[in-house]
């Protein structure tokens, strides 16, 4: 088993610098959820110069629209959704201080460039491991946009939330490099 890195947001540049594509990471502490509808609203607020409902500085956003919670559970199954829908918005949020994003699937060249420029990091969580990931979420509270239902912004308290580094600040991309490493012609 490789080394596992433990992180707790807010993340600082020094913590981001040591992360490399393929690193296994366990996140504990506070993260926020958001899908495309919530991202759009955040960027609209920034455009108008208004205050955001969540802090961005050093924070991590998890792209997820969970299933309804059973009584007694913090959250329903909560695996990542596909990240490309957030691509139009992520560079702006990174420029405003956001550090980490958790989703699944490749990102646009613009997002990758913003990750390098603003020292961000993109993690993948395992798509379809919704029950496992939900178990690592100890608390979930809606903090904005309740009208969006599963897409509302939630503040999550997570413990040992498992992710892998996909895009680091050095321009590496696990979706490209991983596939190239195991391809046989």
């Amino acid at each position: 088993m490789e080394n596992i890195i433990r992180l707790q947001p807010p993340l600082k540049d020094e913590q981001i610098k040591v992360l490399k594509t393929g690193d296994q990471v366990l996140i504990s502490g506070t993260i926020y959820t958001g899908r495309d509808a919530a991202h759009k609203r955040l960027v609209d607020l920034l455009d108008k110069g208004e205050k955001l409902p969540i802090p961005l500085d050093g924070q991590v956003i998890y792209f997820v629209g969970p299933a309804p919670a059973k009584p007694g559970n913090a959250i329903g199954s909560a695996g990542p959704t596909t990240s490309y829908r957030m691509d139009p918005y992520s560079p702006r949020l990174l420029a405003e201080g956001l550090k980490g994003m958790i989703g699944k699937g490749g990102r646009s060249p613009e997002v990758k460039a913003a990750i390098k420029k603003y020292h961000g990091i993109y993690f993948a969580a395992v798509g379809g491991a919704g029950a496992l990931l939900a178990q690592r979420i100890k608390k979930a509270e809606i903090v904005a946009y309740e009208d969006l239902g599963p897409e509302a912004i939630r503040r999550l308290e997570v413990e040992d939330f498992p992710v892998v580094v996909v895009n680091d600040i050095y321009g590496n991309d696990l979706y490209e490099q991983g596939v190239a490493a195991y391809r046989r012609n």
Partner: protein, 279 residues
């Protein structure tokens, strides 16, 4: 003539919706076990182990394997000597979906195509139905997630394209889909029939248990060759690189028009859920 009340159909469908979403089949658990042994990528192995743990948690806590609990695709085999009483079949099926998704804390994913407004109860179900001999009703539910369904297509090949053309299309399509359909996947392939029949063949092929071989030796061989080529692409678990891109390729075939060669590819993510009941 044997009779079945729609109420029994509704409750059966509701139960199947929950069961399918909580309990991954034994065939898939065995496929995951085999994949962990075969996978060379450390990241890939970690992902596969997480999927095993995920299946255990989902079954123990009775929570969905994946938050995308899908549109409810429900295959019916309706015995021609069975009489349905107390209401109509389609309403009964949809009521079952409504109840199952509500009671089971399953995510409702059906929405208006333009406004994207959620319908609120995950209806209507998709209900392909075959009339068969006998006096029973077989109900098979296969909840289908959005992302893997998006990575599917029908193409009308030229007859001259033949088997080589089919293989090229399938492998190129899986490569293009990459990590999007949540690999490791099962690749459903429908060949022949008409435009819409090919698509249905591809979807039906996904109901076959992983590990069961195709009874047609020619198609069995085609499946083997396709699987090898697909796993050589290196896409791996979640598209992050590895040796296990697909657990299986399933092919179903029917005769087609002398001028046509329809081909459908329906990709199934690793949350390959299906449960059946016979009334």
């Amino acid at each position: 003539m044997r009779e079945v009340n729609v109420e029994q159909i509704t409750r059966t469908v509701a139960g199947l919706c929950m069961e399918a979403n909580y309990f991954l089949g034994d065939d898939m658990l065995a496929a995951l076990e085999k994949a962990v042994a075969a996978e060379e990528s450390p990241t890939g192995r970690t992902i596969l182990e997480q999927l095993q743990e995920n299946a255990t948690i989902a079954a123990t806590d009775r929570v969905p394997i994946c938050q995308d609990t899908g549109l409810a695709v429900i295959f019916l085999e309706l015995g021609q000597d069975l009489h349905i009483i107390g209401g109509d079949l389609e309403t009964a099926i949809n009521e079952g979906v409504r109840q199952g998704y509500e009671e089971g804390y399953l995510r409702k994913s059906s929405c208006h195509p333009f406004t994207r407004k959620n319908i609120g109860d995950n209806t209507p179900a998709i209900v392909p139905c075959r009339i068969v001999p006998g006096e029973q009703l077989k109900i098979t539910i296969a909840p289908k997630g959005g992302r893997s369904e998006n990575m599917s297509k029908v193409v009308m090949l030229k007859p001259a394209d033949g088997i080589a053309g089919i293989k090229k299309q399938v492998v190129e399509w899986v490569e293009q889909a990459g990590g999007n359909p949540c690999p490791p996947t099962i690749i459903g392939v429908g060949i022949g029939g008409t435009f819409e029949r090919a698509a249905l063949l591809a979807k039906e092929s996904l109901l076959r248990e992983v590990g069961n071989r195709n009874p047609d030796p020619e198609l069995d061989q085609l499946e083997k060759e396709l699987l090898e080529e697909i796993n050589n692409l290196g896409i791996g678990p979640q598209g992050l690189g590895g040796r296990v891109t697909s657990f299986a390729v399933h092919v179903k075939m029917l005769p087609c028009h002398i001028a046509s060669l329809p081909l459908a590819i329906n990709i199934q993510c690793h949350a390959a859920r299906h449960k059946e009941a016979v009334l």
